[in-house]
């Protein structure tokens, strides 16, 4: 365990400060999107996309061309495919997502084992390395943050209506197919931005938990979407603190913290309802 003194020193270290900044960005991105994802009942989309991204990253390393860009292309294609499958009435949507997930994961692992020794650890892909983030990554993530929030702001009312009820929105002339794809593509972009930081396994949790928590206590949609990033940021910061103090895996601790906040809020709601 780290002493208080050591912790204070750590907090002054550049790499720790960068971790907090990137944690903030990833938390805001994922928790705002999570509201749409959870309420659209496509919570598994983050899972499907992050494993597709894993396959994409492995392909990028295997081909030895900018892995993140290869992964980005694969994820965007994956999000189009997953949305198409979800919108289809012939396949059940959880099965569709599961297929993408398994395809991404297994082809990724095959590619990595084919090119043994290209110097990435599966572990860093799966769990990320938030304490190794550099300035460039922060800049890229900030650009993505501004872009994603801008798109959501631009199409806010249509996104809300499509999320509320795809059928009713479509019946009144909203081009809901566009907004379904848009949410999936935004999720794909967030997944790609977040994988180097929190990893494949954890980003899908961050695309669900903050919204699950805020839906419990939001008195309106507006409150819900405002509280979600607050819970997201709280999870990221508390998780980082705890992981520094106990010197444990940061990404996983952040997710456990998001889970703990969810359980605490549920409990508080139960108690206050009595």
């Amino acid at each position: 365990m780290t002493t208080l003194n050591e912790l204070m020193l750590l907090l002054q270290a550049g790499f720790v400060q960068r971790a907090f900044i990137i944690g903030l960005i990833v938390a805001v991105l994922s928790s705002i999107l999570s509201v749409f994802i959870v309420l659209k009942r496509v919570s598994l989309i983050g899972d499907g996309l992050s494993h597709t991204a894993f396959g994409g990253l492995a392909l990028g390393y295997y081909l030895d061309i900018v892995p993140l860009w290869v992964a980005a292309v694969v994820v965007v294609l994956g999000s189009l495919g997953i949305t198409r499958a979800i919108r289809s009435t012939r396949i059940s949507s959880d099965a569709a997502v599961a297929v993408f997930l398994q395809l991404g994961l297994s082809s990724g692992i095959v590619l990595i084992s084919l090119a043994r020794g290209f110097g990435i650890s599966i572990e860093s892909l799966l769990f990320g390395s938030i304490l190794l983030v550099n300035l460039d990554q922060i800049i890229i993530a900030s650009v993505i943050l501004v872009g994603v929030l801008g798109v959501i702001f631009l199409f806010y009312k249509e996104l809300v209506y499509t999320t509320f009820s795809e059928t009713q929105a479509r019946a009144s002339g909203v081009q809901t197919w566009f907004f379904d794809y848009l949410v999936a593509i935004l999720a794909g972009v967030v997944v790609i931005a977040a994988i180097p930081i929190v990893g494949v396994l954890l980003i899908s949790a961050l695309l669900v938990l903050p919204a699950l928590t805020s839906i419990q206590i939001g008195k309106s949609f507006k409150q819900t979407i405002i509280m979600s990033p607050i819970f997201g940021i709280a999870s990221a910061f508390l998780g980082l603190f705890v992981s520094l103090i106990f010197d444990i895996a940061s990404g996983a601790t952040i997710v456990l913290m998001a889970m703990a906040i969810f359980v605490a809020v549920l409990g508080a709601k139960r108690v206050s309802a009595r």
């Binding site: 009312k157 209506y161 509320f164 009820s165 009713q168 929105a169 019946a171 309106s220 949609f221 819900t224």
Partner: protein, 256 residues
């Protein structure tokens, strides 16, 4: 809005419409239907008769396998759908855990009309206020929709459907699961919307007794339309007796 409609041009025209669902169910066939401005049409038929399917075709939700749909004198397109307010069958309304308040829900009805890239403004809020008053739910504005009674919930969705001043209001089995007191109040509201605000109404129901009192026209469906005309003619026609050829239980119960 100028619709360029002649006095006698129908606002909805279905011609020889057929819908087959995957699995070989032929839900509706050879359906011809015209709806004129100011009509209040009751679409009646037993469960599984194809009422929701027919409404879905008019709303562009279901693409017919055969036949054509025209709205307001034009082919079906998003712009024309904006002139229709729609209240789905209760079970399909929405998941009650959705964290929206009553006024947020009603405001959604203004989204398509406002157009892309435009924020909802004061005018939209005023219209929502108005619609909630008409439905008598203005006192519930801040409630989360999950905390409403069945009748209140219903009214919220009707307010949402009329908030953009539609030419046509479509309601799918609006009284299923609503108690009889709310029912009569509800029909009162509908005839107010129709007579005083000039909204054309198409509602489906298997509650023949009340619909014939309310509607000026009746359309009877069981896979195909076998009657469509003024209520007075319906009452003296053989359609009613044909209707009762189906097991009576299907017609009189509110539950499938």
């Amino acid at each position: 809005m100028d619709l360029n409609l002649g006095a006698n041009q129908p606002i909805v025209e279905l011609e020889n419409v057929r819908v087959d669902y995957p699995g070989g169910v032929q839900a509706i066939d050879k359906v011809n239907l015209e709806i004129f401005e100011k009509d209040l049409i009751g679409l009646i038929g037993p469960n599984g008769a194809g009422k929701s399917t027919l409404l879905g075709v008019i709303l562009g939700l279901i693409k017919p396998n055969h036949g054509s749909v025209r709205l307001f004198g034009e082919a079906l397109k998003p712009k024309n759908l904006r002139l229709i307010g729609y209240v789905p069958q209760k079970a399909q309304l929405i998941d009650t855990s959705f964290p929206a308040t009553v006024d947020e829900t009603v405001l959604l009805g203004r989204v398509p009309g406002a157009g892309l890239f435009h924020r909802l403004n004061k005018e939209d809020h005023l219209r929502a206020e108005e619609a909630m008053k008409i439905l008598g739910i203005d006192g519930l504005k801040e409630r989360r929709i999950g905390q409403l009674s069945g009748g209140q919930f219903q009214r919220v969705f009707i307010a949402k459907a009329i908030v953009d001043k539609p030419k046509l209001l479509i309601l799918d089995e609006p009284t299923t699961g609503v108690d009889s007191l709310s029912k009569s109040e509800f029909y009162h509201t509908l005839s107010h919307l129709n007579r005083d605000l000039g909204i054309t109404i198409l509602l489906s129901s298997h509650d023949i007794g009340i619909v014939t009192k309310l509607a000026n026209k009746i359309a009877c469906i069981n896979r195909t339309l076998y009657f469509c005309g003024p209520t007075s003619e319906f009452e003296t026609s053989s359609a009613l007796s044909k209707l009762y050829d189906y097991p009576a239980g299907l017609m009189t119960h509110d539950h499938p």
